[in-house]
């Protein structure tokens, strides 16, 4: 059952993309660690971390594509799930600091000592263990998405109204995490990380390993989403996206279908956030900012929604552009981003990958038609010969 699910998921483009990601997971760390800094093929550590960050963005965009591209749920709050996963990882990293903090408290992170707290809040228990934190990285965003989706989909909130309440959700979380009393470091968030799984978080080897982990997580998620989308369940998702009430009258519980896709998507976003935090070294409430979620939508649209590969390409292209652009003309970046979104919506509604796939399919069709014609003329040519 599971194997057939996986085999079905591996259509050709997906298989190529997964292979590329697996190769990157090996080659980039190798070029970083095994070559001398002056070697022409050497990849500097800052590049490894930068591209590792892009890969976590790509995973977030892929998660959004599952709900937006295939289910028609335009979530404008997906960065919230990313940030929740990031906070879960950040809490683990905070507790790894131990007595090495500025105040030298073995149990309490610095910000709690600063706020004069005497003991660790209950929700910080267990985060000293990696397995527990890893579980929370998936469970917390999943649970938030499940509860949110349960109410939203059951009340049949759709379209722009749903988008608005997802935006409200991330904004509410932003305000909540800004408060010092919440116990998540308030405005400053969580930072000054030292170790992850006993390895120095600044070390080249750890950075390379985090890059590899991000590439593997993206490859794995691509296989899972592709399997979901390729199954009959995926067909139901597209069906309810295009004609929701028709799908209901066929006997499908539309709200259950959406809830499952939304929850899985939020879990993937949580994993992305958890891989992001150790690579950038900080998580603060700014990650919940509504604008972040909207940026994810732009990456997905630029790459091509509903294509799975598109959002990955889009996230890397736009963020690569952002890195270059903000260095060269920092004040123009937001204009460029806005302009890009307008241009893509007007001229490339299927996004970069969607448009490319469309042209390829057309060319293949034309070639197949030409071949058929050739065969027919061949047959006609052959006929008089046979008669002779």
């Amino acid at each position: 059952m599971i194997t057939s699910f996986l085999v079905k998921s591996l259509d050709r483009t997906i298989a190529v993309a997964v292979a590329i990601l697996l190769l990157l997971a090996v080659i980039v760390p190798a070029l970083n660690l095994l070559t001398a800094p002056d070697h022409p093929l050497h990849v500097p550590t800052y590049m490894v971390s930068l591209f590792g960050k892009y890969l976590t963005y790509a995973l977030l965009a892929l998660a959004l594509d599952l709900v937006w591209g295939f289910c028609g749920i335009l979530s404008l709050g997906h960065a919230a799930f990313f940030a929740l996963g990031g906070y879960a990882m950040g809490m683990y990293l905070m507790r790894q600091i131990g007595a090495r903090g500025s105040y030298g408290n073995p149990l309490l992170p610095d910000f709690m000592v600063f706020l004069n707290w005497k003991e660790l809040p209950w929700f910080w228990y267990g985060f000293d263990m990696f397995w527990f934190a890893a579980l929370m990285v998936i469970l917390v965003p999943g649970l938030v998405a499940f509860v949110f989706g349960w109410f939203a989909f059951r009340s049949r909130v759709n379209g722009v109204y749903l988008s608005i309440i997802t935006q409200a959700m991330t904004y509410a979380l932003l305000l909540a995490f800004f408060r010092n009393d919440m116990g998540f470091g308030g405005n400053n968030g969580l930072t000054d990380f030292k170790d992850i799984l006993g390895f120095n978080i600044q070390a080249d080897g750890t950075r390379a390993a985090l890059f590899a982990a991000s590439a593997l997580a993206l490859a794995g998620s691509l296989v899972v989403t592709s399997g979901i989308v390729g199954s009959k369940f995926g067909k139901v998702l597209v069906a309810l996206r295009d004609a929701e009430s028709r799908t209901r009258f066929l006997g499908y519980r539309v709200e259950h279908m959406k809830l499952f896709a939304f929850t899985v998507s939020a879990m993937m976003a949580g994993i992305a956030g958890a891989l992001y935090v150790p690579q950038v070294g900080i998580i603060n409430p700014g990650e919940f900012a509504p604008a972040n979620s909207i940026e994810v939508v732009i990456w997905t649209a630029v790459g091509g929604r509903g294509t799975l590969i598109g959002p990955i390409v889009g996230a890397i292209l736009v963020n690569g552009g952002k890195s270059i652009f903000t260095a060269a003309f920092p004040e123009f970046w937001l204009f460029a981003l806005g302009g890009l979104f307008v241009l893509v919506t007007l001229f490339l509604p299927k996004g970069v990958v969607g448009t490319a796939q469309h042209h390829l399919a057309r060319r293949r069709q034309a070639r197949a038609a030409a071949r058929k014609e050739d065969e027919q003329t061949d047959l006609e040519d052959a006929k008089p010969m046979a008669a002779e």
Binding site: S231, K232, K235, V236, A243, R248, L250, Y252, H256, M257
Partner: protein, 250 residues
């Protein structure tokens, strides 16, 4: 009021519903027997579509009873549950899944597990494949099986939707204006198809096309202002002075 018969497939009694003060249905009573093909006519706003909305769970009645197969109360169930009980519905405007192939449209409609995990791990069995091929032949779309539904003509979409209803294997089929926008030839073929379908299940057809209803040759119910005006053969109903005044005469 109509007597409740345990054999009755669909039973509506005293159903009323109003929207913003407008009474769409006014104490409507209506019975469909198993294996019956019934036509419903009536002027615009007579409550034909509202009646279908009530039967399929889209709208809740303000008062009245709706029972399926004797004792299943339809007013307490939602669309998906009612569809799973065996009531299929065809919309006025053909609604098929345009981004799916004709084959996938039928596969989705097939009466199989509809839960998240049942569909996630679904595999096409030989039996399901045969069933889909059979339906493709019935609705004459075998040659188009791998084409996207978006590319079908209007008439073909109507037929695909009827095929999807067949795949659902309902005991009761509600069909809203199946021949709207069809050519005369298509209309005649649709009449044959519906009569064929009605051999194994009950069908309720809402239609404006009197010629089509004559082709069907079945019992006719005329609705007006949310309740039944007349019921009987097409000749009986079309000679009823109230029907002429309310509907045909205008």
């Amino acid at each position: 009021m109509t007597e409740k018969n345990p054999r009755t497939l669909l039973y509506l009694d005293g159903v009323s519903v109003s929207f913003d003060g407008f009474k769409a249905l006014n104490s409507l009573s209506f019975v469909v027997e198993p294996g019956e093909l019934r036509a419903i006519i009536g002027p615009n706003g007579a409550g034909k579509t509202t009646m279908m909305d009530i039967i399929t769970g889209k709208t809740r009645p303000d008062e009245g009873e709706v029972f399926f197969k004797g004792d299943i109360d339809l007013t307490k169930r939602d669309e998906a549950e009612i569809a799973q009980l065996g009531i299929g519905r065809k919309f006025q405007k053909p609604t098929v899944f345009e981004n799916h192939t004709v084959w996938d449209n039928l596969e989705l409609a097939l009466n199989r597990g509809r839960g998240v995990f049942a569909t996630l791990f679904y595999r096409l069995t030989g039996e399901d494949k045969r069933r889909i091929e059979e339906i493709l032949a019935t609705v004459r779309l075998t040659a188009r099986r791998d084409d996207l539904a978006a590319g079908l003509s209007h008439g073909q979409k109507q037929w695909l939707e009827i095929g999807m209803l067949l795949a659902q294997e309902p005991e009761l089929l509600l069909v809203d204006e199946p021949v709207a926008g069809m050519t005369d030839a298509e209309t005649a073929e649709t009449a044959i198809l519906l009569k064929d379908i009605a051999k194994t299940r009950s069908v309720v057809v809402v239609e404006h096309d009197m010629g089509f209803i004559r082709d069907l040759g079945v019992k006719v119910t005329c609705l007006a202002e949310g309740s039944v005006l007349a019921e009987g053969s097409i000749d009986f109903v079309s000679n009823d002075p109230k029907v002429i005044e309310n509907y045909l005469g205008r």
